[in-house]
Amino acid sequence: MIDKTVPDTARAVAGIADGSTVLVGGFGRAGQPVELIDALIAQGARDLTIVSNNAGNGDVGLAALLAKGRVRKMICSFPRQHDSWVFDRLYRAGEVELELVPQGNLAERIRAAGAGIGAFYSPTGVGTQLAEGKETRTIDGRDYVLEHPIRADVALVSALAGDRWGNLVYRETARNFGPVMATAATTTVVQVDRIVPLGSLDPEAVATPGIFVDRVVAVGERRWLDAGAFVGGVDVDGNPLAATAADAPEGAHR
């Protein structure tokens, strides 16, 4: 019998080595695998390269991992948020490296790794700082920049429900990077609210087939979702939605 479920988050993150590249799902805190990150902090791996859309919110999850000094480098599209004070401090102190990637190139580079694409020409970023040093090519009159896959040792993903084969469904916009990240790592570890019996997920609605998944752990209701203000968002003037204010730079674009 195939059984990819593991009984607790400690076993889910066991064996992650120092120096690993780790894909971390989520957009802000929607889909962020906070319980797995907490287990990774306890597990102790360090000198990590983290690939994630953001660089942590508040003091939980990815921000907590950063605060512990476990992260050597962040690859992300939008590190600076009103509540990214942990990353901001480390970055300004020169204690964490940053590779900034436009969000769509980030998603597509991760997909490319999972889908066996050697590299691809993207129109995004052409003529900007973020394409400097990269090969460009004109195809059918349009300019493109050559982008390479981002593959990882481990992916940490949060989904709504999974079965013992590792099939996953997500919930609303918490899906975000989960399905592509699950394809691009040597070991894909998933936290779900609940594990369901094989055959109870609609095969037409499975967003991540189990072939991409190595370990699934149930974390129950994600309590931190209710543990305070709605973090990460800003109002129309760029001021934080939450009370935990820090100033949001003018013109911030997601």
């Binding site: 769509g104 975000n176 674009h253």
Partner: protein
Amino acid sequence: MTTRISRDALAARIAADIPEGSYVNLGIGAPTLVANFLPADQEIILHTENGLLGMGPAPAADAVDPDLINAGKQAVTALEGAAYFHHADSFGMMRGGHLDVCVLGAFQVSQHGDLANWSTGAPGAIPAVGGAMDLAIGARSVYVMTDLLTRTGEPKIVAACTYPLTGVRCVTRVYTDHAVLDVTPDGLAVRETFGDTTVAWLAEVTGLTLLDATGTDASEVA
């Protein structure tokens, strides 16, 4: 200083240019105001790049769902007819030219339609780009919503951007608090002025050669 329209009035002006049936992405910040002025009796489908088509308005305070947010990480709702998808699919939608319109903020727009809206390049600033570069080159029409002048009076419509670029020759039209300008192969064309704003004044304050497209004839002014 000539007439300035309010940010809400500008949002309404932009909304009036979006036909029914359009697929639209509204950038975070001021562009999100455009949603408030889309006609209630028409269907315009909003895309948010974190994986949702058919985005609805903000929920009631007691109905916030942390799994359902927009690109600005604000709580939203999903309409009947909505669909969720992952990030690679969502950005494929943008990059593949399937969005009709996006509305973005700007630090600067050049007379050739270059956009700078992600970084001022200030020393010590932490860079963050998000989906801005994908939106700028992806949508069929890229509308910029911006004040004409910065708080210190510098024009944001410029001969060439001095801030780091978001995209090259990607802007279709610029909606400012004084006027609406189209990016054309021949340069910027003033399509509409608000109140007592004149094309001549716009040309003077920006220092640019502008086409006058406010009438039936487009004629060049100094």
